[in-house]
């Protein structure tokens, strides 16, 4: 299978898109069409259970029309040529009727710039192509990991191994651009469940990437560490609530960059008057040690793509540079309304959902301090490991990040005393200002991100270790 070429269903349907767009633009000032297909393979192995199955595919067409004031859209899973043209005709009829009717949109906000002319097809680069392996070989890979992990400790009651391979294909057309892309994303996770007869605990290790199998290999050391960590969770205590000096691992740093800060600089939040960050534009908001970037073009990131769902080519955005808030992230609508340059952050969960401003790979820039030096500098504090959740609060800028566990630091040394789970709260600018050291390491972790409680898209976040002050509980 040549997964790097556009799937035949999309390739065939995409031939009609330039004509569809041209027909729609006879009625409205700007139109665009997007074809999307997501799908893949998932293998799961647990004690006494195995499955190899398709990741439920989603496929459809979105027709977008700028009516002079806002975007209207019509979307359908039927990609037959006849249906697509019928859909466009019906859609234009609805839009025109609304323009003529009582519910007339407000005065025009001006025309939409379709961007410079461009035709291109992109595909994820990988060394070890996962599609070269059969489903049986992928199942064997998971069975092998499960067997190896299962033997590591008698307190293990189950081990779950999950391999997921997702291919996201898109074709975008407006009057200037004809773009297509295939993004291949992989995730491999091992989750270890342990019990001492009284309580159950667990921990997990995982790798993810846009790329090939070379990016997600798990070693014996990885398995040993996750089993030891799961067992150590059995002895975890609740952290005494209070303010602490904290060292965040890259995973926790990333959730601070993404959840606590990143959502508040999505420019649709500016349009809705929901962003406290607006007051800080061009001003210091963080310690001068802090850089935060969002980069959909980051090679191998789980949130990587070549162009966004509105045809904007991916490139990095410096959100914070040397502690100063430089710019936010935009989609076409927010950039148009706010009259700011676009970034490639217009993304949708599927053809059934609207585009929103969304992050991609969001991270703190690398610093200069060795991690060992950071830990040695803490008299009494906590090393935070493994974020498990986070939630945005763009207006109040309160931070909620939950860490799976933390390890006590006393007099510059990790004591091994474990706290779990740990809630990290505080006021975002206070936390960013409190950053007193930035590690010389760097790591991204992938996952999916929602807007509020819905609209899930693949992302990654991370960066280096950070030393900061935060309230734990």
């Amino acid at each position: 299978m040549n997964w790097q070429a556009l799937p035949p269903e999309l390739s065939n349907a995409s031939e009609a898109l330039p004509t569809l767009v041209a027909e729609m633009e006879r009625k409205v000032p700007y139109a665009a069409a997007l074809l999307c297909r997501n799908g893949g393979l998932q293998v799961q192995v647990r004690d006494r259970e195995q499955s190899v199955t398709e990741i439920a595919p989603s496929q459809g067409l979105v027709l977008s029309a700028w009516n002079g004031a806002y975007f209207e859209e019509m979307a359908s899973s039927d990609l037959s040529r006849e249906h697509m043209f019928g859909l466009a005709r019906g859609f234009m009829g609805t839009v025109r009727a609304r323009l003529r009717g009582a519910v007339r949109p407000v005065a025009s906000d001006g025309s939409i710039d379709p961007g410079q002319a461009q035709r291109a097809h992109y595909a994820t680069a990988c060394v070890e192509d996962p599609t070269a392996l059969s489903a049986k070989e992928k199942l064997d890979l998971c069975l092998d990991l499960q067997t190896r992990a299962r033997k590591l400790d008698p307190r293990i009651v189950n081990v779950q191994v999950r391999y997921a391979e997702t291919l996201e294909s898109k074709a975008f057309v407006n009057r200037a651009r004809q773009l297509s892309q295939n993004v291949l994303r992989l995730r491999l996770t091992v989750m270890v469940f342990v019990s001492d007869g009284q309580q159950l605990q667990y921990d997990w290790v995982g790798k993810d990437a846009s790329g090939g199998l070379e990016a997600i290999r798990l070693s014996d050391d990885d398995l040993r560490r996750v089993c030891e960590s799961a067992v150590a969770m059995l002895g975890a205590k609740k952290v005494p609530p209070g303010m602490y000096d904290v060292i965040c691992c890259p995973d926790v740093s990333g959730v601070i960059a993404h959840e606590a800060f990143g959502h508040g600089v999505e420019l649709d939040m500016f349009l809705k008057d929901r962003a406290r960050s607006e007051q800080y534009l061009g001003k210091p908001i963080a310690s001068p040690l802090v850089d935060i970037l969002d980069d959909p073009s980051y090679l191998g990131g789980h949130g990587t793509y070549f162009f966004d769902d509105e045809g904007q080519i991916s490139s990095p955005t410096y959100i914070i540079r040397h502690g100063v808030f430089e710019r936010g992230l935009s989609d076409l609508y927010s950039a148009h309304r706010l009259r700011v340059p676009r970034s490639a952050n217009g993304r949708r969960e599927s053809f059934e959902r609207k585009v929103y401003v969304r992050m991609s790979n969001t991270f703190f820039g690398r610093g200069k301090t060795p991690v060992s030096e950071m830990i040695e500098s803490v008299e009494r504090g906590v090393y935070l490991e493994h974020s498990s959740s986070g939630m945005e609060d763009p207006k109040g800028w309160g931070m909620q990040v939950t860490s799976q566990y933390g390890v006590e630091i006393l007099n510059g040394k990790l004591t091994g005393r474990r706290f779990a789970p740990i809630g990290i709260t505080g006021y975002v600018p206070d936390i960013l200002q409190s950053v007193s050291a930035v590690g010389d390491d760097f790591k991204l972790s992938g996952g999916t991100c929602g807007k509020g409680h819905k609209e899930w898209v693949p992302v990654s976040s991370g960066g280096p270790h950070l030393k900061l002050k935060a309230r734990l509980g």
Partner: protein, 442 residues
């Protein structure tokens, strides 16, 4: 489309059992920012979700046949290569070796109210009317305005058939109303953000909810930080739904599932207390209710064809049964019950007002930033988006800081309100009081 898929399944070699669900959806979406539309969308989709089972000799050898299953989704454009798609499903199913299990047969499916005729017939009007109600309600609220709102009015038709004779059609509607309100103070603004999910528009009292959330936004302007320590905590309304249902990932739901019991992850046993400590609160009883009229997790049948039921899961703190799909019911040797459905708790004995009584300090939480107890352990930590600190009946708004603990520990000592609420996937007391919860504040 469904018949084409079923005909192909019957022809396909290696298909020993199957289940097919034809799903058609139409979603009408309306978005506003302030007083102006941001977007209007209509999305339609059609698919058949197929589960294929294959029986084969195990890879490790042995006399007993084993079973593998695989899901594939057939999209309209897949019909031209349907045989390939199903053959791929059989290939995947053949790879895996699991103990054999069956599918439900043709059982009687109860009638459950799932669809709002108005949402089916006039989705755009419903969406615009709800936004209009919200806007008008906010006009009466001092210093509060609408930041943004999103309304999704959806209709779905699901036709389920399987190889054992199930053949059932279910029509439902789903409403999502998400809004953000902004309250203006002397030099600052604060927001309250909430999303409601229902099956019927009439189940949302928009004027009353707008009034409540406008008050939340205004109170957030004056909110201070809670104290640090162990205090009584009351959780109510949508915050309570988040704590106990957690969008279906509640440890109450997962630990009572036959699947997690089979996987040796649930420590619960039928006939034993679900609590590790001696219960000191009100008797805790829990129902899994798929028959709740207009419940967002209700259904006359579940995904594989088992009839919806109202089941007692926990009575007086003791597990009465595991809820089970056909597969895990057979594995554990328990009756199949179908999917969990909505979470239902009986009304409590105490008035809501009495739960808030006491010298204090006592914390009443009305909104979390996000509250998802660990689905397996029940441990939780949640930032307080808005709450109130009460001293002798005097309330002071608070935000920031967090509460933390273990869900089973706090439920063992909980007292429940007699006032009840229906919140889409939850029906039960409007509020709960926990005598001792750790608060991390100033």
């Amino acid at each position: 489309m469904l018949q084409q898929v079923i005909d192909a399944l019957r022809r396909q070699e290696g298909v020993h059992d199957w289940c097919a669900r034809h799903v058609e959806k139409r979603s009408t979406q309306y978005y506003v920012i302030g007083a102006r539309p941001e977007s209007r969308r209509v999305a339609t989709s059609e698919r058949v979700v197929v589960t294929v089972m294959n029986d084969h000799a195990p890879a490790a050898g042995g006399p007993e046949l084993v079973r593998g299953e695989a899901d594939v989704t057939v999209l309209p454009s897949d019909l031209l290569r349907l045989a390939d798609k199903l053959s791929q499903a059989v290939f995947m199913a053949r790879l895996t070796d699991n103990p054999r299990y069956g599918l439900p047969g043709p059982l009687r499916h109860p009638v459950v109210e799932l669809a709002d005729p108005e949402m089916q017939e006039r989705p755009q009007e419903v969406a615009e009317r709800l936004v209009g109600q919200l806007t008008r309600s906010l006009a009466a609220e001092k210093n509060v305005r609408l930041s943004s709102a999103e309304v999704f009015v959806e209709e779905s038709h699901v036709h389920t058939q399987n190889s054992r004779g199930v053949d059932s059609h279910q029509v439902g509607t789903h409403l999502l109303f998400d809004w953000v309100l902004l309250a203006a103070g002397d030099a600052d603004e604060m927001e309250s953000h909430v999303a409601f999910e229902r099956r019927r528009a009439a189940d949302l009292d928009v004027p009353a909810l707008a009034q409540r959330y406008a008050e939340h936004a205004r109170d957030a302007l004056a909110a201070g930080t809670p104290k640090t320590g162990t205090f009584p905590v009351v959780v109510s309304d949508e915050a309570l739904d988040e704590l106990v249902v957690s969008e279906g990932n509640s440890p109450l739901i997962l630990r009572s599932s036959a699947q997690l019991k089979y996987q040796q992850i649930s420590p619960w046993e039928v006939g034993q207390s679900i609590f590790t400590q001696t219960p000191s609160g009100d008797a805790f009883t829990l129902y899994a209710n798929a028959l709740l009229p207009f419940g967002t997790r209700s259904g006359s049948l579940d995904g594989e064809g088992l009839p919806g039921q109202r089941l007692s899961i926990v009575e007086n703190g003791v597990l009465t049964r595991f809820w089970a799909t056909q597969r895990y019911a057979e594995y554990l040797g328990v009756p199949p019950t179908g999917a969990f459905g909505n979470l239902e708790l009986p009304a409590g004995m105490h008035s809501f007002a009495s739960l808030l009584e006491g010298a204090g300090p006592l914390y009443h939480i009305v909104a979390f930033s996000a509250m998802s107890p660990d689905p397996l352990t029940g441990d939780f930590v949640g930032e307080i988006r808005l709450g109130y600190e009460l001293h002798n009946g005097q309330a002071r708004p608070i935000r920031g800081g967090s509460i933390g603990g273990n869900l089973f520990d706090v439920l063992a000592a909980a007292r429940w309100s007699r006032e009840t609420a229906f919140l889409g996937d939850y029906a039960g007391p409007r509020a709960v009081r926990f005598p001792q919860v750790t608060v991390a504040g100033a």
